[in-house]
């Protein structure tokens, strides 16, 4: 790690405690919103019953992700703002692409892990990502430093509670899965957990330096799509075999890409959570996605019907443990002392990469950069910088989705429509609440 001299701090030592509290509340809300949307992202893929290779399923979801990740930022902020972010911190393009590559390899490993050892063992193993996130947050970015024993206890204890709850849920939800090639599967699941846990290093790096999540995800997706396409070509048997699989998947393209679109919204909230409450708290909160995935499975798709009472007890117990763990982490607010340590890490990044201190400080407190650094309360309203390119991106993505929806085949499976509508309403409430909170407190800055 780079040595840090405390007497070279460039950033103002504090932001107002009221603002700090507001940013943390926004971060916690985004963490829970991320869980709801990431959990729902798997729902459209459950509609896919064709014999399409898992690699192709993953690739098509990533294509949906790519479309959403380039059109949503264009709609919300405009690509002009993205260019401004790159001018300030060009090195973050490399970090964004690296994070995308990590995600793609991890996601592919999970497919092999589920195949070899089943979801019940694989899921808790790759859920170690939150514990690893806490470790990297502490080691590299000063998170939880000077936080006090109580906060250490709540964050670490909460993460362990969630890990235990996740284990119970996973065992209950797929206890019947056969375990083939156990060592290979365990290695794949652990590998996915390590890759996902480490993926948050670039996230935190970007947000400490001031990058806007809407800009970061655009570069993330280049690494993600590039790596996923490479893996699908290498392990899927070459371009001809891949094309054949895509032809087979034509009727379900829409559902897979819809899954990717839903995932992007969840990931966007996850990025804001990482930005405002750090990775040590943001990742465990996002991991509540397992609870939401289970709700979709049980209520909408009728999974776990007719199981033994002990398995239902495991589901209820696991859910309560996960909720308790998430609650403990959500209540573990960042103290002024800990926040000062975050600032030291931000300052170190700013100095190393020669990023304008005003830009870093503004982003750190969720505000637009201002010219007058002596007056931090004079928040500048973001100017709309949407160009024809932004409108073109939005129109192109919308057209692709509408075309695929027209080609899509309606699922021929029994769905509990009232439950589907209720869960969708809950997701939309989260979306609205997070968007309003982000807009009011940060104007998406």
């Amino acid at each position: 790690m780079e040595p840090f001299a405390p007497n070279t701090i460039m950033l103002p030592s504090t932001i107002e405690s009221v603002r700090l509290r507001k940013l943390q509340l926004v971060g916690v809300l985004c963490g829970f919103g991320a869980g709801a949307w990431l959990g729902a992202a798997e729902a459209p893929t459950k509609l896919v019953k064709l014999g399409v290779s898992p690699l192709v399923v993953s690739l098509l979801m990533v294509v949906g992700v790519f479309l959403a990740r380039w059109s949503l930022p264009a709609l919300i902020r405009g690509t002009g703002q993205m260019r401004a972010d790159i001018r300030q911190a060009p090195h973050l393009i490399v970090w964004g692409i690296l994070a995308g590559c990590l995600w793609a390899v991890a996601n592919t490993l999970t497919i092999f892990a589920i195949r070899d050892i089943g979801l019940s063992i694989a899921f808790p193993l790759w859920n170690i990502n939150s514990l690893l996130g806490i470790f990297w947050g502490y080691l590299l970015f000063n998170e939880l430093r000077d936080a006090g024993k109580l906060r250490w206890l709540t964050v670490l204890g909460g993460a362990l509670l969630m890990f235990t709850g996740a284990t119970l849920l996973a065992i209950a939800s797929s206890a019947q899965s056969p375990a083939e090639h156990p060592m290979r599967g365990i290695l794949a699941a652990l590998g996915a957990g390590v890759l996902w846990g480490t993926m948050y290093v670039p996230y935190r790096k970007a947000y400490l330096t001031g990058m806007n999540p809407l800009s970061f995800i655009a570069f993330f997706t280049i690494g993600e799509l590039g790596m996923m396409l490479t893996l699908a070509l290498i392990y899927g048997g070459g371009p001809d075999a891949l094309f054949h699989q895509l032809e087979l998947a034509k009727p379900v393209l829409f559902w897979l890409m819809l899954g990717g679109f839903v995932w992007v919204i969840g990931d966007l909230f996850q990025q804001y959570a990482a930005k405002y409450i750090g990775i040590s708290r943001g990742i465990p909160l996002s991991n509540t996605n397992q609870l939401w995935g289970l709700l979709w499975g049980i209520l909408v798709f009728g999974e776990l019907r007719g199981l033994s009472p002990s398995l239902y007890a495991q589901v209820i117990g696991g859910s309560l443990l996960m909720a308790a763990g998430a609650g403990a982490i959500a209540l573990s607010s960042v103290t002024g002392k800990e926040h000062a340590r975050w600032k030291q890490a931000a300052d170190r990044e700013g100095q190393r990469y020669k990023v304008d201190a005003n830009y870093v400080q503004a982003a750190f407190s969720g505000r637009a950069p201002i010219n007058d650094a002596s007056n931090p309360s004079s928040q500048r309203s973001p100017q709309s910088s949407r160009s024809w390119l932004d409108y073109l991106l939005v129109i192109a993505a919308t057209t692709i989705f509408i075309t695929l929806a027209l080609l899509a085949r309606a699922p021929s499976m029994a769905l509990n429509w009232p439950a589907l509508i209720e869960l969708t309403a809950a997701m939309l409430i989260f979306l609205l609440a997070c968007a309003v909170a982000l807009w009011r407190v940060t104007r998406f800055n």
């Binding site: 780079e2 090195h91 490399v94 690296l98 990590l102 390899v105 590998g191 390590v194 993926m199 290093v201």
Partner: protein
């Protein structure tokens, strides 16, 4: 010349990234992940 500035800037950015210890943490993990994937597939 703008192109020369761009090249200089790119080299500068890459130098900063590649000499940053933080970069080698995810980069090494990525390479290890690719090796595991290649082995288990």
């Amino acid at each position: 010349m703008p192109d020369e500035h761009f090249a200089e800037k790119s080299v500068g950015v890459w130098t900063l990234v590649l000499t940053d210890v933080h970069f080698w943490v995810p980069a090494t993990v990525l390479l290890a992940g690719l090796a595991v994937l290649h082995w288990i597939r």
